[in-house]
């Protein structure tokens, strides 16, 4: 495929104008004060809280990952935002988010320290850093795959290009600007996918309309390709339930997602924007699921029975670029627009993770060992932004299967959510929490390695890990909380 300058150029120009432009504007207008956005906590009105909550998780998980997953799961990946996103955000808004806010903390790790003590705080800090960086590497890879697929550039080169994009994005965007840049990107995303869907319908007419496409999709992945309510249990047990459970566990633990809630003016501002959050999040994946499904029909029409299967592509680590390639065949002229939408989502989420993890290293981890002055902190922050990007670069070079990688990372957060719920509603025990984390993590590692031998398909790793993880976490916490001597009632700390 020849290099598509017509796609690459508008995207680079857009990227420079939005990130560097807005970044420079903020630096000129506010100077160093721009850094203090996070400190301006507990002043956010409901609509900034709501848009912030929607924007946090809005990256590759809502776009390329479901598009890629349609090739095996049909339409079911659309549940990612419909049930995974909305359910987890609802739980976070009405339970954990409000509890954190009542505790008056500025970080999630701090909240866990108040509830369970110092050791649990350390574990939360470590798992948050790990999750931020590993998910960052997925956003990184998705960005590279998108650039490669749309422009025809080599994927290895695009991973390097994504590295440059991320570094520029984070260094120029700081914290305060990131919120504005992300808001611009959210608008670009919705306009982009809306236009893409319009182009898509006109292209569908060329291959004989939606009816013909439907038949081709059913041929490829069966009935589950054209309905969210598949007549079989496979997608429901193997994908939808794991998505719902793991999202619920992961979301309340991620500082970047909870930041707008922690910074809300009062508790009322947290819940007020809930309907807006629901609508924006639930509709986020649909366009890319439709695009992914229609892309399924293209190999058939282009290559006939010799079309590569999803398994072959996955084995080559090439599913995402190939899907994008078929999208460019499918939507001539819309390439730049979709690439912009994709990068708007992946860059903003990915850079928030990179910035969040770098800040955590400089603000939380290093001060445990050595006191730092402000100037050193700023220098170290920049250094760790580059180091975080290098780690993401290495992670991205493994070219993981996105949806599986996402849910594997989410799996580590299961015990924290279970412990928080029990501590709030029933009994609070540091020992129970620590024991639950240990046992659940051991099960996660063992199931990842040996779970493939389980004869039931929907129990196989990584998505199948969900069931043993949630059961083991609940049972362990209950048993330990019943037998430990350090048990406290939910108590005055948590209830108002």
């Amino acid at each position: 495929m020849a290099l598509r300058i017509d796609i690459l150029l508008p995207v680079v120009i857009y990227f420079l104008i939005v990130t560097v432009g807005i970044g420079t504007y903020y630096i000129r207008r506010y100077g160093r004060a721009a850094r203090d956005f996070t400190i301006a906590a507990m002043t956010l009105p409901w609509w900034l809280v709501a848009t912030g909550i929607v924007l946090g998780p809005f990256g590759a998980g809502h776009t390329l990952s479901p598009a890629e997953a349609t090739w095996g799961w049909g339409a079911a990946p659309n549940w990612w935002s419909i049930i995974g996103g909305t359910l987890s955000l609802t739980i976070a808004i009405f339970t954990s988010g409000r509890w954190y806010r009542r505790l008056g903390v500025s970080t999630i790790a701090e909240a866990y320290e108040k509830i369970f003590g110092l050791e649990v705080r350390a574990l939360v800090a470590a798992i948050t850093l790990f999750a931020s960086l590993s998910i960052g590497s997925l956003e990184f890879y998705a960005s590279a795959a998108a650039i490669s697929g749309f422009t025809g550039l080599d994927i290895a080169f695009c991973i390097i290009l994504a590295f440059v994009f991320f570094i520029v994005y984070v260094l120029f965007s700081g914290v305060m600007q990131l919120a504005t840049v992300n808001l611009v990107n959210l608008v670009v995303y919705y306009v982009g996918v809306a236009l893409a869907l319009i182009v898509l319908t006109s292209v569908l007419d060329k291959i004989g309309g939606w009816k013909v496409a439907e038949q081709l999709i059913v041929q490829k992945v069966g009935e589950k390709g054209i309905t969210l309510f598949a007549p079989e249990w496979g997608p429901f047990l193997g994908l939808v339930i794991p998505i719902a459970i793991l999202h619920a566990c992961y979301t309340p633990l991620i500082q970047g997602f909870m930041q707008p809630i922690l910074a809300a003016k009062d508790e009322r501002q947290i819940t007020r924007g809930w309907p807006l959050v629901m609508v924006l999040n639930a509709s986020a994946t649909t366009a890319f699921v439709v695009i992914g499904l229609v892309a399924l029909t293209i190999p058939s029409t282009l290559y006939g029975p010799l079309a590569p299967t999803i398994e072959t592509l996955r084995a080559q680590g090439a599913a995402v670029p190939t899907i994008i390639l078929t999208i460019t065949e499918l939507l001539p002229g819309a390439g730049a627009l979709i690439l912009m939408s994709l990068l708007a989502a992946t860059l903003s989420t990915g850079s928030a993770f990179v910035l969040g993890s770098s800040t955590a290293i400089v603000e939380d981890l290093i001060p445990m060992y050595k006191k730092l002055d402000e100037r050193t902190k700023m220098i170290l922050l920049r250094a760790f932004i580059v180091i975080s990007c290098i780690l993401c670069l290495i992670g991205a070079s493994f070219m993981p299967y996105l949806i599986a990688a996402f849910l594997w990372v989410f799996g580590w957060t299961v015990p924290f959510f279970v412990g928080l719920m029990f501590a709030w509603l029933w009994r609070r025990s540091s020992r129970a929490m620590l024991g639950t984390i240990a046992v659940t993590w051991i099960v996660h590692v063992l199931w990842t390695i040996f779970g493939v031998n389980v004869p039931v398909t929907w129990l196989k790793p990584p998505l199948g890990n969900t069931y043993p993880l949630i059961i083991v976490a609940i049972v362990t916490y209950v048993v330990l909380a019943l037998t430990s001597r350090d048990v406290k009632e939910p108590g005055k700390l948590l209830t108002k």
Binding site: L118, A126, L133, S134, L365, M368, K370, K371, V409
Partner: protein, 47 residues
């Protein structure tokens, strides 16, 4: 076939991040141990 699948699943990506997680756990655990010895910044041991 099972063994082959086992190894296939424990892909480089998961392996890589698993080691990073271990490093973070060790660093934070060390930090907590130091913090427990005395309030941060109040004693000479915090560097």
């Amino acid at each position: 076939m099972d063994v082959e699948l086992n190894l296939a699943w424990l892909t480089a990506w998961e392996g890589f991040w698993f080691y990073i997680l271990l490093i973070f756990l060790i660093l934070f655990y060390g930090g907590i141990r130091r913090a427990k010895k005395g309030p941060l910044g109040s004693t000479s041991q915090s560097g």
